[in-house]
């Protein structure tokens, strides 16, 4: 519990409207987009919504003095419980910090506050012909601070990488309230430890990211979208592999199985060919139409070779956008198929992708649980979704074993637990298996050095 005196101190910093403590308002900040149950409740004692880095810093000074847990939060769109205030205390919600501080055209860099929505940053840069590539499926509502804290990926990772590939510098409020600035606009920079990389993907456990400096690249002049249908997931996986081996690098290559296609069809009130068992959506980009055409031809040839049964190129911008909107909504649409959905985020070396997808199919059969499969075929990051009803007797146990098997399969082919969602709460039980004892010990040493009182986002990662 936070005493009235401390509450008043915090109100004096951010103003009374930006401190919420009613039962329902606290409940509103007790969950995110993960499958962490609502019970037992994870209500924070206080929701605090600062507007400036200075306010964040002063709140942290108070929290540090009284050893109050602080869990940073953006839009609450994370998939692993990273922003859930599991130990109570303060939910530090940064969604009022929405300034795009500077777009530096000469250096092709942009500085934004933590609460800026990903798509707003993208559009702001796009207006000037610059491209901010990281595009998590949630980009219309996720915020930059969360993207950095989770090192978010996205569809375009296959060609353009993930968030960390664009972070040049950060402004971070440390556990004691000190304001740290890392990195900068110099492209080459080896002065001291690479703290920028350390905080990127640290899930709010090492500091509160309040501002980020990103590098940008020129916006591709032309974009095209291709949709290919296959009889089996395996044919789809092989196609993507063949395309990559042939030296064609699509901006995105997304695969989805029959279950996903059916959800989409239901929403659009259309029917899908009973023969179709999987679909791959590909984005290509380039300098001009000729560049797109060359890629399209090579991809089409590879697809045919691997048994594609239908191939189409989106004819309009609108059609392309619709295809991608469907892909971005898949996760939530699939979640609605069953009372519970346990979504995973394993990531494997690119050449192991077809193998791990096959193994997921076997795991589904072995445990008698439907597992919908979709993911980033181009970069090896896949999201198996176990569709289940945890209220059924014995179901939880079976789901547990299936998850164990999925992780085992990922690690076995040289992959890892999480590609882009982070560890948070939901993958915590498995991290020792992935990192080993020395790995965990090193994480803990870093944590102890930066947050000796353990107040920042406690209870996460390990």
């Amino acid at each position: 519990m936070i005493s009235e005196v401390i509450k008043q101190e915090i109100i004096a910093i951010v103003g009374p409207d930006n401190v919420l403590d009613s039962e329902l308002n606290r409940f509103g900040y007790s969950y995110d987009s993960s499958f962490v149950p609502l019970l037992p409740k994870n209500n924070p004692d206080l929701v605090v919504r600062p507007l400036t880095t200075d306010e964040v810093s002063r709140v942290m000074v108070v929290a540090c003095a009284h050893e109050i847990p602080v869990t940073p939060r953006g839009a609450g769109s994370g998939r692993t419980g990273g922003s859930i205030p599991q130990k109570g205390g303060i939910s530090l919600c940064l969604d009022r910090m929405t300034q795009i501080v500077e777009l530096d055209l000469r250096n092709m860099m942009v500085t934004a506050e933590a609460g800026v929505r990903t798509i707003d940053l993208y559009n702001h840069c796009a207006e000037k012909g610059l491209f901010f590539p990281p595009d998590p499926a949630s980009w219309k509502f996720s915020t930059i601070g969360g993207n950095v804290a989770e090192n978010a990926g996205g569809m375009r990772a296959v060609k353009y990488g993930v968030t960390k590939n664009y972070v040049m510098g950060l402004e971070v409020v440390l556990a004691d309230g000190a304001i740290l600035k890392t990195g900068g606009k110099a492209i080459k920079n080896v002065t001291g430890y690479d703290l920028t990389s350390l905080f990127t993907g640290s899930e709010g456990t090492l500091g509160v990211v309040t501002q980020a400096l990103f590098r940008l690249i020129p916006m591709p002049k032309r974009r095209g979208t291709l949709q290919v249908m296959f009889r089996t997931l395996d044919d789809g996986c092989r196609t993507v592999h063949t395309v990559l081996q042939a030296g064609v690098l699509p901006a995105a290559a997304e695969i989805m199985d029959r279950t996903c296609l059916e959800v989409v069809a239901r929403h659009r009130k259309t029917e899908i060919d009973p023969e179709v068992g999987a679909s791959v959506i590909i984005e290509i980009d380039g300098e001009d139409d000729a560049a797109l055409e060359t890629q399209t031809k090579r991809i089409e040839a590879a697809a045919k070779e691997c048994g594609a049964i239908a191939f189409r190129a989106a004819r309009s911008q609108q059609e392309a956008e619709e295809l991608w909107a469907v892909r971005r909504g898949i996760s939530s649409a699939v979640a609605a198929l069953a009372p519970n959905r346990i979504g995973e985020d394993i990531s494997v070396p690119r050449d192991a992708f077809p193998e791990v997808v096959r193994r997921i199919g076997e795991i589904s059969k072995k445990h008698g649980l439907p597992i919908a499969v979709y993911g980033h075929a181009g970069d090896g990051n896949i999201h198996p979704s176990i569709l289940c009803d945890l209220a059924k007797p014995g179901e939880e146990e079976r789901v547990h074993h299936a998850v164990d098997d999925i992780f085992a399969a990922a690690l076995d082919v040289g992959g890892t637990l999480s590609g882009e969602h982070g560890i948070g709460i939901t993958k915590r039980p498995y991290i020792a298996g992935a990192l080993g004892e020395i790995g965990i010990r090193t994480l803990k040493a870093v944590k102890a050095a930066l947050d000796p009182k353990g107040i920042l986002n406690p209870g996460k990662i390990w």
């Binding site: 308002n25 509103g28 609502l38 996760s331 939530s332």
Partner: protein, 408 residues
């Protein structure tokens, strides 16, 4: 209502929202989250509260009713939701549940509900509002419930200048057989707030058919929205009976139209009324939908520049966007505004209950209207028109707000 039936409401709401995976896609489109920024004001926040109530994680309190009432029922979230969770329907169920639990609707909703239940009283209220308007006592009336009406004759006087000459739209090519019995549904809002526009609707309809007019009762939406479900069902039965002889029932109010079109689902479990309700809902048409169907062309073409505000209950309630725009293009020139389909903040009595939030939402709407340079913002719903009239006033005369019947 007995406890079991009451628990059913909550269970039903729980079922609707159980498919929400809390992704957050609704956050940027929820107009209330847009002005408040607090989770419990968003669709995701309210769905999660409903889920928590249904599963016993949360106990209902006074705060709960406040949170579920703070919803425009605009369906912007439903439209954007990858799982199409019907937040609005869930909120209506939860409101009813909490209302029953508290032993009945709040006094003000009972009062409004009571007034709207009797047609005679609706007329009296309309007369009272008209006196208020004429006596200039508008400002005494809370939050603009008595908007300044800008009539069709004002409109023609302003826009029928020389530039309009020779630009008259060709005569309407409507052919409606004598057998088609077309009736007009008198909406309370139109009758009380915009009687001149309602009269224009009837005039337009009469150019296309021999119009049936009925002393219908309220569509029941205000009752449904505020925990008076039994009254809502009772009104629905009266209207179904009343329009038995009509083949088509035309509404010039988006909210009435949407409510009447959806009656089927409320009687799905009632064998005595199920079929009649389905037949009735099938007859209902929005004014612009009907006019498009019969090929109506506006009575004049002026040099007015229109923009159009999509009422939630038309765009998301009935999927109608094209007919009103086509009509406006034929009646003048048309400019599309940004976020035309975002709620104006009116939402029934929401703007009276939560004037500050409604005003903040309206402020965004006003800026979008002004950016088009249009001289008239047109809509198809008295609830929206109240809001837009306020926006017109706030714009200092940059534009007028009118019902579509007044300009076509």
């Amino acid at each position: 209502m007995d406890k079991m039936k009451n628990d059913d409401l909550l269970r039903e709401a729980g079922k609707m929202v159980s498919r929400c995976d809390r992704c957050g896609a609704c956050l940027p489109v929820c107009p209330l989250f847009g002005v408040k920024g607090i989770e419990a004001t968003s669709a995701r926040g309210k769905n999660t509260i409903a889920r928590a109530l249904a599963s016993g994680v949360l106990e209902p309190t006074e705060e709960t009713l406040g949170v579920v009432n703070f919803c425009l029922l605009c369906r912007a979230c439903v439209d954007t939701c990858p799982a199409q969770i019907p937040t609005d329907e869930a909120m209506v169920e939860v409101r009813q549940h909490l209302t029953d639990l508290a032993g009945g609707a709040e006094a003000k909703y009972r009062l409004v509900g009571g007034v709207l239940k009797r047609p005679g009283v609706v007329k009296a209220a309309a007369a009272a509002l008209s006196i208020l308007r004429r006596s200039g006592l508008n400002s005494l009336f809370p939050h603009g419930m008595a908007p300044e009406e800008y009539t069709r004759s004002h409109f023609l006087a302003a826009f029928a200048g020389p530039a309009a000459l020779g630009q008259k739209a060709p005569p309407s090519a409507v052919t409606v057989t004598d057998k088609t019995k077309v009736a007009y549904f008198r909406g309370c809002g139109m009758e009380m707030m915009f009687p001149e526009a309602a009269a224009q609707t009837r005039d337009i309809l009469r150019t296309t058919t021999r119009l049936l007019t009925k002393e219908n009762v309220c569509c029941g939406l205000p009752h449904l929205a505020h925990g008076l479900r039994d009254e809502f069902l009772d009104l629905a039965r009266q209207n179904i009976r009343l329009f038995d002889e009509a083949d088509v029932v035309v509404s010039d109010c988006a909210s009435c139209g949407a409510t009447l079109k959806h009656l089927t689902s409320f009687f799905a479990d009632d064998p005595a009324w199920r079929d009649q309700a389905a037949v009735f809902s099938g007859k209902v048409m929005d004014l612009t939908e009907y006019l498009a169907k019969v090929g109506y062309l506006p009575r004049q073409k002026t040099d007015a520049v229109f923009t159009y505000h999509d009422p939630c209950h038309l765009v998301r309630g009935q999927g109608i966007t094209k007919p009103p725009r086509e009509l406006l293009k034929a009646a003048g020139s048309f400019v599309e505004m940004k976020d035309a389909d975002v709620c104006c903040g009116g939402a029934g009595s929401f703007h009276i209950d939560y004037p500050d939030a409604a005003e903040q939402i309206l402020e965004k709407k006003r800026r979008n209207i002004e950016k088009t340079g249009a001289t008239v913002v047109v809509t198809d719903c008295p609830g929206c028109l109240i809001q837009l009239a306020k926006a017109a006033k706030a714009s200092g005369g940059k534009f007028k707000a009118m019902h579509i019947s007044q300009v076509i």
